[in-house]
Symmetry: C2
Subunit: 277 residues, 2 copies
């Protein structure tokens, strides 16, 4: 693992690290914020999964999360959204290929060799940060934006017991029925829609839900609302009486200005679970 940069930030350290990833077969870069408390021992950790076109850097510089995480003594992890570099398949569309891994393990050509983002985020990166940094893997929560909100929801429901709480900013809620999903799942997972179900938050909500608190914020002026379909997740959550706070925020769009506005709420929300019991 190579340290790319470390900057003092809210009493802690915002680092950027690169490592050779087994899951993706490429070097991967991630951001990690450690609060001051990490000097004294392992701290709880909140994952932030980013959206289409993002790298590890966007949320790290624009989401305004570190201040609230510092206040709560929580670490933040900012993974990249796909493998990158020589020999990694790509697509001309911004919503497919590099920058658009959708947090799945691709089974289809040409994606399968490197696009193993589920394994990377669910297994390899947690193991790495658990061994290299003072983070407590028994206290993890997860959030994300847009495609990363989809990732947060599907990882949280797909890995029962892993995360104490889950939240999302303007997540893609029903990718099996959205143009942000059908093309990508067809490409990465193949045409058999049954294989998509474990990567669709609304279907997972209907089938199994999440054992813990859920918070979702979406803007009423989000320019991608028809692709996100927050109503589908809301209906599924309502049907199973899922513990949940689902908010449509008046006037807000899909931008980081929206994310930063509600970041304090999300970090506080996760802190409650991360420090419970």
């Amino acid at each position: 693992m190579e340290m790319k940069s470390e900057n003092a930030c809210f009493g802690g350290v915002q680092g950027v690290y690169t490592h050779a990833s087994q899951a993706t077969g490429k070097d991967m870069t991630f951001g990690l914020f450690l609060p001051a408390e990490a000097k004294d021992g392992p701290v709880p950790v909140l994952w932030f999964l980013s959206g289409l076109t993002c790298t590890h850097e966007n949320a790290m510089t624009k989401a305004g999360a570190q201040g609230w995480a510092a206040e709560q003594g929580i670490a933040l992890v900012f993974p990249d959204t796909s493998p990158r570099g020589d020999g990694v398949a790509d697509d001309n569309a911004f919503d497919m290929g590099q920058g658009a891994g959708f947090y799945v393990n691709a089974t289809e050509k040409p994606w399968a060799p490197h696009f193993q983002m589920w394994d990377y985020v669910a297994e390899e990166l947690p193991a790495l940060i658990g061994s290299e940094f003072a983070v407590d893997l028994d206290r993890q929560s997860i959030t994300g934006h847009s495609m990363g909100g989809h990732g947060a929801l599907t990882l949280a429901m797909g890995l029962p017991g892993r995360f104490r709480s889950v939240s999302a900013f303007s997540p893609i809620c029903n990718p099996s029925r959205s143009d942000w999903g059908r093309k990508q799942f067809t490409g990465y997972l193949g045409a058999d829609e049954q294989k998509w179900a474990s990567h669709d938050a609304s279907l997972l909500m209907t089938e199994r839900g999440f054992e813990g608190p859920l918070l979702v914020d979406t803007g009423t002026k989000d320019q991608f609302l028809d692709l996100l379909m927050p109503e589908t997740l809301a209906q599924a959550a309502a049907a199973r009486r899922q513990q949940a706070i689902l908010r449509m925020q008046p006037g807000y769009d899909h931008s980081y200005f929206f994310i930063s506005t509600f970041m304090e709420d999300h970090v506080s929300f996760h802190a409650e679970s991360l420090y419970a019991g």
Copy 2:
């Protein structure tokens, strides 16, 4: 004036606008955050002047200022750092020409036709936002980063009575004696160093000071400390017993991670003056 974007943000609106500037003879773009209170009437305004290579956008997306400004009911203005576009002189160095206006009115070729950033920030842009938006020009304060910290300090001292308070993050404090200053002042203002004095914060502090509170934060690990020379400003402020809070922040560098860490302090500091009396 043309609206380029408006995003809901912390209950207010983060806008970006372009206008034909008389001072610079080019179209200029600026960011303006208006808190919710601006719907009911004019609000106080805090200027944020940015550093080398920045546009209006960097601080607007990375400084984390809007949340604190919203809490205080204060507007934020993010001007660009130079004229840009066809026919505007430039230099291959990142610290000269476009993105590096140094908040002066250039008198020398080839800069003089467009590099009139003092007039732009001191006169034209305030008049524009005062006429187009609900901001109260009787309640203005100013801050900035690096070259923009230099701009904030020199504008505050150079325009007595204009700003109620001034602060800066890692400002260039003594450009007449720094490689971040001598080259630029020679280019923009000519070789006569007497003409530089009104754009040197340490000389202004010695000569006249600032009638109001001053706050400066600089990181002890700032990679540009020898160019910034915070000690020179500190010595000048001490000599005249200037009302001031001058802080060297342990471990912090020159980045936006540093700025965002102390942004709450700076906005609160200005709010005290903006809401006094």
